[in-house]
């Protein structure tokens, strides 16, 4: 690619400069939170947040984990952490499984009204929680699972159904149906084909689905606030309670440490998953 020389160079330089500037815009808030969480309260008071800590110290993190106060009790966010874990594992497993089965059933088997079901799912994926919040509260309390662990898990599965089903369905329709036909000629039925043929081919999409659900459920706030019950409040709810308690002096370092601890699990998943994460979020958009 021969040269137009100087103008191209300057253009390239400008491009990189802009990208680096943008990268700073995205990175700096997080860096500020990290750096402030490592400072002492005096340091925070006396210096601006853009100044790095003079002697980084994890004391605030310790306090956030074990002793931060939510106004009612001072158990630290580790309580919320374990609650979130207990909510996460069943919810993710069951919603991914349900999505896979549903997607599989809708993709290669003749089901009456399949198009209608798909449209209903698509619409359902967009319904804001607030629209069905109150009725859902009524239903779950009638069944007896309101404000409990089973309740929040059920709600997460419910809200995960449309997206998960559509995700798997789009994936499975992309697989050649000769595979299925060959298996049926061999005598395999619905379940056999799912377990022996479909699942082994689904590793990638299972990873994508798991990442999508894990991120969504871990980061959820509203549903956890309403349906989980006082003993099962997820980490995000605890975090907000800690950060917005305004009794006495605000311990910014502790609050920020708590925020980081809450953000850490999905961030780690993100950094570890790379391309799968991107596939997950774009699948939501390019699903058409």
């Amino acid at each position: 690619m021969s040269g137009a020389g100087a103008p191209v160079r300057i253009g390239r330089l400008g491009l990189y400069a802009f990208l680096v500037g943008m990268a700073l815009f995205f990175a700096i808030p997080l860096l500020i939170v990290i750096s402030t969480s490592l400072k002492s309260l005096d340091e925070i008071r006396d210096f601006s947040i853009f100044v790095p800590p003079s002697s980084p110290d994890f004391a605030a993190w310790w306090k956030a984990w074990y002793a931060a106060c939510t106004g009612l009790n001072c158990g630290g966010v580790h309580v919320g952490f374990w609650n979130s874990v207990r909510i996460l594992i069943p919810s993710v497993t069951l919603s991914v499984l349900a999505g896979a089965l549903n997607g599989y059933a809708l993709s290669h088997w003749r089901v009456p009204g399949a198009d209608f079901i798909l449209l209903a799912l698509l619409l359902g994926a967009f319904i804001p929680y607030q629209v069905i919040l109150y009725p859902l509260v009524k239903i779950t309390s009638t069944i007896g699972i309101y404000s409990s662990l089973p309740g929040i898990i059920a709600v997460h599965i419910l809200f995960g159904l449309p997206v998960m089903t559509l995700l798997f369905r789009n994936f499975y329709t992309g697989l050649p149906d000769e595979l299925l036909k060959a298996a049926r000629v061999d005598g395999a039925g619905f379940w056999r084909i799912f377990v022996s043929v479909m699942l082994p081919l689904s590793v990638n999409i299972l990873i994508v689905a798991t990442i999508l659900q894990t991120t969504g459920i871990w980061n959820d706030y509203l549903l956890g606030l309403i349906f989980a019950g006082r003993e099962n409040q997820p980490m995000t709810v605890q975090l907000n309670a800690i950060a917005t308690t305004s009794t006495g002096e605000i311990e910014y370092n502790v609050n920020m440490a708590a925020a980081l601890l809450t953000a850490l699990p999905p961030l780690l998943v993100y950094f570890a998953s790379g391309r799968f994460f991107v596939r997950g979020i774009t699948a939501g958009a390019v699903k058409g």
């Binding site: 491009l15 990208l19 943008m22 990268a23 995205f26 808030p29 997080l30 500020i32 939170v33 925070i44 601006s48 947040i49 349900a98 089965l101 549903n102 059933a105 809708l106 003749r110 089901v111 079901i117 449209l119 209903a120 359902g124 967009f126 804001p128 929680y129 607030q130 629209v131 069905i132 919040l133 109150y134 009725p135 239903i139 159904l161 449309p162 049926r184 039925g189 619905f190 871990w218 980061n219 706030y221 509203l222 995000t236 975090l239 907000n240 910014y252 609050n255 925020a259 809450t262 999905p266 961030l267 950094f271 790379g274 994460f277 979020i281 774009t282 939501g284 958009a285 390019v286 058409g288």
Partner: protein, 284 residues
Amino acid sequence: MRIRNLAAKTVLTPTVLVMLVCFYGCAIWTAYLSVTRSALLPNYQFVGLVQYVRLFSTPRWNVAWSNMFLFGVLDILGTLGLGTLLAVLLDRQVRLEGGFRTIFLYPLSISFIVTGLTWQWVLSPTIGIQNFVRELGWSDFVFDWIVRPDRAIYTLVFAGVWHQTGLIMAIMLAGLRGIDRDIWRATRVEAIPPWRVYLRIVLPMLRPLLVTCIVLIAIAVVRSYDLVVAMTGYASDLPGKFVVDFAFERANIGQASAAAAVMLGSVLTVLAPYLYLELSRRDR
């Protein structure tokens, strides 16, 4: 043949039932509540559009409602503009493209609560930017939007754009990568400068994708709750928060349902033309 499909139907039945009851049934329930006399407790007496009239005469709702449009438009313009720009730049074969992508996308992996709190701290007059600039010497510098009720909504835009630009960038980049490479080669032969290629050829080709992006962000704006709670509390208000507050704290089911129905209406207004276009495009 028919017996085999029984398994598929059995598997789908719980989902279909749950969808019907919980999603659609409950939505209809809420819509019905919005035309009843419900206040503290549900009261199934039909009263027409009284709740809606009351809703739109409530100052708090009107603020929330107009905030939603303000926030929505700015958020869409911001995320779409910045996201597309970043996608275009990264499409130019940049070194360390992976690194840049990782940085632009990571906010999407954290909770809106964390995003909201982070920006609340960064924009806080006491410890954030205002404080920083004052420490540098400009002791009269003021940037307290986040605590001013009339400006707080704009601060939400910062956080919203920071959080969601990565999504738009990822989607648009995928679209750009899907463009036939021969089109690029043809433009090189015809001496068309790259910026013109993007503006006149490539981005128009991606119009459907842009529309998808707008729909996604718009719906996220309508649903916003976590971000408002974490960032500004009561200083700014959005319909998403209004509904929850009125349903649980203020305990006025009628008003909450009316507000929720309005939210649903907004979502459908955005969604209906989009779905219609998508489906008719696919049939062609």
